[in-house]
Subunit: 249 residues, 2 copies
């Protein structure tokens, strides 16, 4: 199945760009620090970034000493920004939903906030295992399963001042396709439970090494008190898994 | 810290007994099948059951061919029932919250719905690792982290017919002590997130092998349609982890 290419939708692209330009967005304050906290020393490493978007993480991998970095994304518009902003990175326009035509042997595969767009996580894990050297790392972030769960979109119950009292959790145990409104209507995501994600990785020979469910730090909450509500439901799930079965090295 | 011994409270004990005597309770329909589905072949195995309660699982381990079974529980009242109902099992009254005085070398440590009563999961994992042979299994169930999360007790939003629309999720990211009303007031549990549980196991040398978040099967929902609401929030978390660092064998 071909993945949706929502990032080439001009309205979505513009909305997304504005969101990411805000220095208080949760990608900057939570997701990126968590993802990089799980990275081993990148010195001399061969790195693949799946769903690289603007190439910001690719540039950071280079800065941290990676020997070579390949960025893959389905969106030509995102890659145009990436090519304009960053140098020395090999960018490829392709759908990470099927990497069968893609070859390579990497020390680390990163993926930032992209796997929840992929319908077949089992195929993805299998293909990533095939692209990793023995002992190689798959380090990824995604929307938290509690975020992707509700079939009718996420919602909160708030008090009269707008503070969040609780998250309205529904459909958590029903893995599958979700069509949500986020910047534009009709954005397709795929919900998977924590157990589904974990077991799929294990089935494809990965050993789970570390799991993070991100929440804002004290400094961010001091600046934006509303975010204390994120402690009811974390924003992102970030995992490091290690390839233990691939004989290539 | 000594664990609470709520099961020796006569009111709690009677309420719990009634609950477990109901063949439609979720322990029978979900938790026990999930726990046993993760068990390897028990033939000739040395088994320890932490928080064994009535000893029902201990008896089942014997029936499945275990060479020897030790059941440990903090409650003398529970163990009195266990000793009365089952034969050939070594029962010990002790607090699984601190196993430092306990010796042994087991192939499998089971624990059914007990670890959420334990304050220090890290100490527990460390002590279980020390009681397992190399390659031994720790297989446990607990209340699902989404159940243990709310500081003010669990609640649901329902429609006018009493059907559950969503689970009111709060405080998920705040690990720690919870005092809840369940059969009696003042029951002490300890909430831990998925990541906290997973990372603690990994830190103590366990490899995560399988995770189950239980929901009722179709047959049970046909009999009790209200239970379809459990798909909003699973009842139990069940895990199999394997000891990879202990040199004993």
């Amino acid at each position: 199945m071909t993945s949706q290419n929502i990032y080439d939708n001009p309205l979505f692209f513009d909305g997304y760009k504005k969101l990411r330009d805000n220095p208080d967005n949760a990608n900057v304050t939570e997701e990126k620090p968590a993802l990089f906290s799980l990275a081993p020393n990148l010195g001399g490493m061969s790195v693949l970034d799946l769903g690289c978007g603007y190439g910001e993480n690719c540039a950071e991998f280079m800065r941290l000493g990676a020997a070579n970095v390949t960025g893959l994304d389905i969106s030509e518009k995102m890659l145009a920004v990436a090519r304009d902003k960053t140098r020395g990175i090999n960018y490829i326009c392709a759908d990470m939903g099927d990497l069968s035509a893609f070859e390579g042997s990497y020390d680390i595969v990163f993926s930032s906030l992209a796997v929840h767009y992929i319908a077949d996580f089992s195929l993805l894990c299998s293909q990533i295992a095939g692209l990793l050297k023995n002992g190689g790392y798959f380090i990824f972030s995604q929307e938290h399963p509690l975020t992707t769960a509700p079939i009718n979109g996420i919602s909160w119950t708030k008090d009269e001042n707008g503070n969040r009292i609780h998250y309205n959790l529904s459909d958590y145990a029903k893995c599958g396709r979700r069509e949500v409104s986020w910047l534009v209507d009709g954005v397709i995501k795929h919900h998977r439970t924590f157990s589904e994600i974990t077991n799929t990785l294990i089935t494809h020979g990965f050993c789970i090494e570390r799991v993070i469910e991100t929440v804002p730090d004290k400094e961010t909450i001091k600046r934006i008190p509303y975010l204390v509500g994120d402690f009811h439901k974390p924003n992102f799930l970030v995992m490091r898994a290690r390839n233990t079965t691939n004989a290539r090295s």
